[in-house]
Structures are given as C-alpha cells and as structure tokens.
C-alpha cells in the first residue's frame, strides 16, 4: 500500500476515535450509563419530567444511525482486506460480531419500551462492546500499517 494511502487511513482512525469520544460524551450526557438512567430515558419518569419514548420516536432517532453504522463498519473493516488479517477466521468472526453488536445496539430500545428491562443491560453492553470492537479493529489496522 502506498505511503499516502496509509497516512489517509491513519487519519481516518484518528477521526474514528474522535467519533467514539463524542458518542460516549453524548450517551453519558443524554442517557447515562446506569441501569436507571437508561430505563428512565426510554420509559420516562414523571418525577424528573422525563417523557416516555414511543416506538416512532426511537425509530426517528435510530434511522440515520442504521445507515451510518453500516457504512462506518463497512469502511473501517474493508481496510482489513489490505492487511495480513484478510484470510483469518478471526476476521470473519470479528465482522459478524461487529454487525450483530451494532444491530443489538440499535434494536434494544424497542424491547425496553415494551417492558423487557433485561434489555437495558444489553443496550449498555452492546454500546460498549461496539465501541470496543471499533477500537480493536482500529488497533489491528494501526498495527498493520505501522509495523508491517
């Protein structure tokens, strides 16, 4: 791979970290990472004047994220094709895991508003797992570009 392309990918990874940081800050500010914080954000709390979300409000919120998650994962993961990780079974597993985690992250709010409180844990877990996977993939790319 040309040096200029490597440089471009390195900057893309930096942007990705910035995107993750902003996502964490936004989640922490709007929802919070506690069980009650997530539950109240979706099912509401009259004492705290937090309105309950309905399915159309959630759909409106996740609509751009459906496209963005897919595009972002595709762009980030397709760089792996240019590295030594291309034909590894672990890469296939990583691709499946990242897409499934993204789907879980997007879909869990629907289950939360239906009263399945267990999905609050899944929402928090999938959020952090998704970010962790992005960081891990970024690390794989960084290592491949810098050290190989």
């Amino acid at each position: 791979m040309q040096k200029a392309y490597k440089l471009s990918i390195l900057y893309f990874l930096l942007f990705s970290l910035l995107l993750i940081s902003s996502a964490v800050m936004l989640f922490e500010h709007k929802i919070g990472f506690s069980f009650n914080g997530v539950l109240e954000y979706y099912i509401g709390n009259e004492e705290k004047f937090i309105p309950a979300k309905n399915s159309s409000a959630i759909l409106k919120l996740i609509l751009p994220h459906i496209f963005v998650f897919g595009l972002f994962i595709m762009v980030l993961m397709h760089f792996l094709v240019f590295t030594q990780h291309r034909d590894k079974k672990s890469t296939i597993f990583l691709i499946y895991l990242t897409f499934i985690t993204a789907i879980l992250e997007l879909s869990t709010p629907f289950f939360i508003i239906e009263g399945f409180e267990f999905f609050v844990y899944l929402k928090i877990l999938s959020f952090f797992l998704f970010l962790a996977l992005i960081v891990y993939i970024s690390w794989l790319l960084l290592h491949s570009i810098v050290y190989k």
Binding site: Q2, K3, A4, Y5, L7, S8, Y11, F12, L14, F15, S16, L18, L19, S22, A23, M25, L26, H29, K30, V68, L71, F72, V75
Partner: protein, 157 residues
C-alpha cells in the same frame, strides 16, 4: 474504492466521469457547509461565541450541551467520510505534494473539531483556532477538488 486500483483513470471514461461528478458534489457540499455554518453556528469569532455562550444584552441563550454534543458528533462523521473519500481521489491523481496536503487537510480538520469542545468546556480562546482551522481545511479541500478535477481532464494520470 475501485478507482484506486485502475491503472489509468483518464482512459476509463466512466470512472473518470463518476469521480468528477462526485467531486462536484463535494465542492457543493463544502460551499453549502460554509453557508449553513454562517447562518447557524457562525463562522466569525463573535458569532461562534454568541452561539456557544449566548448574549445577555440581546437576550440570546447559549446552545444547550445536548445540542452542542449532537452537532459535534454529526460534524465528526460527515467530515471524516468526506475527507477520506476526497483524499483517496486526490492521492490517486496527484503526482506531488500528496503527503503535505494530506497532512494539512487532516490536521487542520481534526484541530477544528477538537477545538470546538475545548472552546465550549474550557476556554473561549479555542474559538479562534476553530475559525482558523475551519477555513484552512475548507480551502485545502477546495484546492484538492479543483486539482483532482483538472488532473482527471488531463491526457494521462
């Protein structure tokens, strides 16, 4: 990004046309971005300060933290995707100063994005860095678009 693998883009008339169309759209996006920023967030130190911190004399409320974070989050995604694709085309067609301009474009845009929360949470002086780097990366991106367009019209790339 198949165009990165084609030996001579100029000879591939379809791919060349697609890239020129795409470059036109990025150029329009950049112009529209400046206009939207001007009417919304502000592109001068004074207007950005008013957006971020409000203006008591004119009864203008500061932007809420939630709105600010949403704006910042969206900006990061759009800028990263636009600059990645633009830079990939530029690297493919440019013969010199590729590394220099890539560094200038990316560093200025990242500085622009990082200076926003620093201005909001730490000090208003970062607004000046935001304004300067905002115009630098828009200028460099515009140059890359025009240069790439010109190179795609050249006899060979």
């Amino acid at each position: 990004m198949r165009f990165t693998l084609i030996n001579n883009i100029q000879k591939d008339s379809a791919m060349s046309l697609i890239l020129k169309g795409f470059l036109t759209f990025i150029f329009v996006y950049l112009a529209a971005d400046i206009l939207v920023m001007k009417s919304g967030f502000g592109i001068s130190a004074e207007s950005v300060n008013i957006t971020l911190f409000g203006d008591e004399e004119n009864y203008i409320d500061p932007i809420t933290e939630s709105s600010f974070l949403e704006f910042w989050h969206t900006q990061i995604f759009f800028i990263m995707m636009i600059l990645l694709t633009l830079n990939a085309i530029f690297i493919r067609v440019a013969s010199s100063a590729r590394i220099l301009l890539t560094n200038l474009l990316m560093i200025s845009s990242i500085l622009s994005l990082v200076s926003l929360p620093l201005a909001f949470y730490i000090s208003a002086t970062f607004v000046n860095i935001f304004i300067a780097t905002f115009f630098i990366w828009h200028g460099v991106a515009a140059y890359m678009i025009i240069y790439s367009f010109w190179k795609l019209n050249a006899k060979s790339v």
